[in-house]
């Protein structure tokens, strides 16, 4: 029994019709073998267009459908759905691209129409051999793994947990909170960062659906969407989390003080410590590298004073495996190392500090109890704030770090608020893009801050005249005045940029995702899919995808949560059936395909010496199909018969006619 093919030529307004003679094309198609009907219409993808196809299927009993229009990337799903709703298997539909591959590449009507005829003929001949395929539905585990406990991870975790799904929140540091926990005030509202963050941190800790795994990291991540397995390493705190009440006695009694990482080494902490008083969980951790017991075998004072016997020097690292259906990476950023820019004197000249060090200085619970002061303890009489340190620079990072202009303005405001110091802000552009940002800029403009437009060339302590003696001299071209200025100040704050974390490459490898040229995690589409990745089931959110401010981080955290819930809720997802299949009889056991699969979907069965494809992992890329020397692998909907028919039909105008 021969097929009944319906051919539909789309004008696509003038996109196709301007160059391709659609009427002639439809006329030509109607004479091809097995074609029961050939029509042309303005917009096939529209409702009326789709209805034409559906009516023909129902009334004429069509067994195959060809639509000649745009790229399958645009509307193949649209037409497949239309065909399916009329009762025909969607894989008995074939799309012919006469737009991107025909009408859009030439202005010659004759050539375009001829080419379109070739394309349509090929699709018509080929569709005879299409098979009715069924999508595969697989169950998904509704658990979610979130890597990174900063504001982004926290937001995503709360959203998902609130919907009733279980979240494993893995954080590398002993506490959640990320960089935001270190900030003093946030722009543009000057909200106290801790005040808005800590309630969320507490919610995370108290939420029944969130299992908080701090001081932990993910060492392995395997499986496929809906059925991943995460291997997590819990590092030993040497404190039993269940027994510890957070009383703080151990911290008080510990005899050893070391520079505190949380305070950017400007302040001190004990060898047994909580990074900051509001840490979640409120359980201290013993720093093995400095603790007197671990390094010299003495002390153990904390153990003596702990009323709950929570200190456990024998604690070992633990590995746990959890099943999850999806993962969200919210691992955040690292700050640019300012000592790389030798001309700025960071690390060489005292009182040249970075913005994060400045945050700790102004923070009420920081090393100076909120006093902005120089290394000698005195308040500065003048402060310079330098923009774009390590950003927008082809020698370091080319990208703009987005938040520095705003946090520089905030720093200027804080200096003016807390001291009488003169403030000079050296900027290139002022990027005040967000809600309330431009208004904040205007506010700071009126707070007696001097703005100098020019990139700082050098910060030196070599004075050229008495007024510069003992000062740090900021040398920059004032581009608005057209002169080079030397501005002597007491303190310089370098607004360092954001870069990808140093372990981003490793993490990307573990999760099988890509990174963009600047090193941040790569999203599936920069505009339409900013939190998805090319790997199904794995999402990225926050500043690990690109530098961004807190509102955008929270928005992305929630977006990732929504993405995850869209299939976690359904309980199952559909997989495309256009996967590769191995013909066991033809397989010679050469194993060439096994190493080629980019999705690791092919395994080798030693017992019967044959390769086997796990179809849920197969993405239908076709590499193994092409590589198999025995021709034992075929791809569904792209079989040899189908492809060869298409090729022969293109090559011969008379083929089949």
């Amino acid at each position: 029994m021969s097929e009944k093919i319906g051919v539909y030529i789309c004008h696509c307004g003038l996109n196709i019709a301007k160059t391709v003679d659609c009427k002639a094309l439809a006329e030509y198609a109607s004479h091809l073998p097995n074609v029961a009907v050939a029509r042309d219409y303005q917009f096939m993808c529209s409702n009326p267009g789709q209805e034409i196809i559906q009516n023909d299927i129902r009334e004429m009993g069509l067994t195959r459908v060809v639509v000649a229009s745009c790229s399958p990337l645009m509307h193949e799903p649209t037409f497949r759905r239309a065909v399916a709703s009329a009762g025909l298997n969607p894989y008995l539909f074939q799309m012919a691209n006469i737009r991107e591959q025909c009408s859009w590449i030439t202005q010659n009507r004759v050539l375009a129409t001829e080419r379109a005829k070739d394309i349509v003929r090929a699709a018509v001949m080929r569709v005879n051999f299409n098979e009715p395929l069924e999508v595969q539905k697989i169950p998904v585990n509704s658990n979610v793994l979130i890597v990174g406990g900063g504001i982004t991870g926290i937001e995503a975790a709360l959203q998902i947990a609130d919907s009733g799904k279980k979240v494993y929140l893995v954080e590398k540091e002993p506490t959640i909170g990320g960089y935001m926990a270190r900030f003093d005030k946030t722009f543009p509202t000057l909200d106290c960062a801790a005040c808005i963050l800590t309630p969320k941190m507490v919610s995370v800790e108290q939420h029944d659906n969130i299992e908080l795994l701090t001081y932990s990291d993910v060492t392995d991540f395997s499986g496929y969407v809906g059925k991943f397995t995460a291997k997590i390493r819990k590092r030993p705190r040497y404190v039993d989390e269940d027994k510890c009440t957070g009383c703080g006695q151990c911290e008080e009694k510990c005899p050893l003080s070391v520079p505190s990482e949380f305070d950017c080494k400007l302040g001190k902490r004990k060898a047994i410590y909580r990074p900051f008083p509001q840490a979640v969980p409120n359980v201290p951790v013993i720093d093995r590298e400095h603790c007197l017991y671990f390094t010299k075998g003495v002390c153990r004072v904390c153990e003596k004073f702990c009323a709950h016997h929570a200190i456990d020097f024998e604690q070992k690292e633990k590995y746990i495996e959890v099943p999850v259906g999806s993962a969200i990476l919210a691992t955040g950023f690292d700050l640019f190392d300012a000592s790389r820019i030798r001309e700025y004197g960071y690390g060489r000249l005292p009182n040249v500090i970075t913005s994060i060090e400045f945050e700790r200085l102004t923070h009420a619970s920081g090393p100076t109890a909120g006093k902005i002061q120089l290394k000698n303890g005195k308040p500065p009489e003048s402060v310079a704030i330098v923009h774009c340190v390590g950003s927008r620079d082809q020698n370091y990072n080319e990208h703009c770090s987005r938040v520095c202009c705003m946090y520089s303005l905030k720093s200027a405001h804080l200096v003016r608020e807390k001291t009488d110091a003169k403030v000079y802000e050296f900027y290139i552009d002022m990027r005040a893009f967000g809600k309330g940002y431009e208004e904040f800029y205007k506010r700071v403009l009126h707070e007696d801050v001097t703005f100098i437009r020019g990139r700082v060339a050098e910060i030196t302590n070599v004075a050229r005249d008495p007024s510069e003696k003992g000062k740090l001299i900021v040398v920059a071209e004032d581009t608005l005045l057209g002169i080079v200025r030397r501005v002597p100040v007491d303190m310089v704050v370098l607004s360092v940029g954001l870069e990808p974390r140093k372990d981003a490459a490793q993490l990307a490898r573990i999760f099988g995702i890509s990174r963009s040229k600047d090193g941040f995690f790569l999203e599936r589409h920069p505009k339409l899919a900013p939190v998805s990745t090319a790997a199904q089931g794995i999402y990225v959110a926050g500043s690990c995808q690109s530098p961004k401010d807190i509102p955008d981080c929270v928005a992305q955290g929630a977006a990732a949560a929504a993405n995850v819930l869209s299939f976690a809720d359904k309980g199952e997802i559909e997989l495309e059936p256009t996967t590769a299949m191995i013909n066991d009889e033809a397989c010679s056991g050469c194993k060439i395909c096994v190493g080629l699969c980019p999705y690791l979907a092919i395994s080798f069965d030693e017992s019967n010496n044959r390769a086997a494809i796990t179809s849920v992992l197969c993405k239908g890329c076709g590499v193994c199909v092409a590589a198999c020397p025995s021709g034992a692998i075929e791809q569904q909907n792209f079989t040899n018969k189908q492809l060869v028919t298409e090729i022969e039909a293109i090559c011969s105008q008379d083929y089949g006619v």
Binding site: R342, T460, V462, R464
Partner: protein, 279 residues
């Protein structure tokens, strides 16, 4: 004008057993002057020198940082298959020359510090120069733009060498700031100002003399010191020596052998203060 540099270099290299042969029939590298007129012909000059050096199968060692920068730049540019390379190759072929890219361009200072090394230098010291405070002046082109020899802004390679020969290098934050170079001819006022800063900084940090690794820096700082004084009302009298001259003194050679007698600002009182001066 650099006879002293040449003399002292030959003497020191002989003492250190460095086999230094003058490149046969070398041509001017063009420095920045030629590059300002004709780009490709300027690189051609460097390319010819590289070809000549390749024929000798030796490293090309220079004592002038401008030559170093120009030759290294051309050498780097010729390392990749680009239209630049094809143009140079075509031009060279017209005289049957070909460059295969095997030459390394180095500055003598780097060769002495990295290859000859501390032991060998210290072993040849015959005269103690202790107590002499020296400002190590690198000039602007030794470490820039490539930064291959040392840190671009605050290198220490010369400082290290100076400690090996027993002198005390002072802290000199302007060590890589420009002396003006050819500006002394084309814009004397600016160049004198730059040199004034250098001399001032050296003096403020307690330097008794300045050591350079570039003939043009030497000329600007030394020969024009009188003009600096006239313009700014200062009274600098800072002797300036090439690093090879100072090394030669440590190795026991006489002032005449090292060309120190050619200087414009006498270093005799300074050297006599610290040790017995011979010749």
């Amino acid at each position: 004008m650099n006879k002293a540099y040449d003399k002292s270099t030959q003497v020191v290299c002989k003492a250190l057993d460095i086999d230094l042969a003058e490149l046969n029939d070398w041509n001017c590298c063009g420095a920045s002057a030629y590059l300002s007129i004709h780009e490709m012909k300027a690189h051609l000059l460097s390319a010819r020198n590289l070809v000549l050096a390749e024929k000798e199968k030796k490293d090309l060692v220079v004592v002038c940082p401008a030559c170093l920068t120009t030759l290294t730049k051309t050498n780097h540019y010729l390392a990749e298959e680009t239209r630049f390379k094809r143009t140079i190759d075509t031009a060279l072929k017209a005289a049957n020359l070909q460059y295969r890219g095997s030459v390394t361009v180095r500055h003598l200072l780097e060769v002495i510090v990295n290859e000859v090394g501390e032991q060998e230098v210290k072993a040849r010291i015959k005269r103690k120069l202790s107590g002499l405070k020296v400002a190590p002046y690198y000039g602007c082109q030794l470490t820039r733009p490539f930064g291959e020899i040392d840190d671009k802004e605050f290198p220490v390679i010369l400082d290290r060498l100076l400690t090996w020969i027993g002198v005390e290098p002072v802290d000199f934050p302007l060590k890589t700031k420009c002396c003006g170079g050819l500006l002394m001819m084309t814009n004397e006022d600016v160049a004198l100002g730059l040199n004034r800063n250098l001399l001032d900084c050296a003096k403020q940090n307690g330097a008794e003399c300045i050591v350079t690794i570039c003939p043009l820096c030497h000329m600007n700082i030394e020969t024009y010191q009188g003009d600096v004084n006239k313009m700014f009302g200062t009274d600098f009298k800072v002797p300036t020596l090439y690093f090879t001259q100072l090394m030669g003194l440590a190795f026991g050679f006489s002032r005449k052998e090292l060309g120190i007698d050619e200087e414009m600002i006498s270093s005799r009182p300074l050297l006599e203060k610290h040790f017995e001066v011979v010749g």
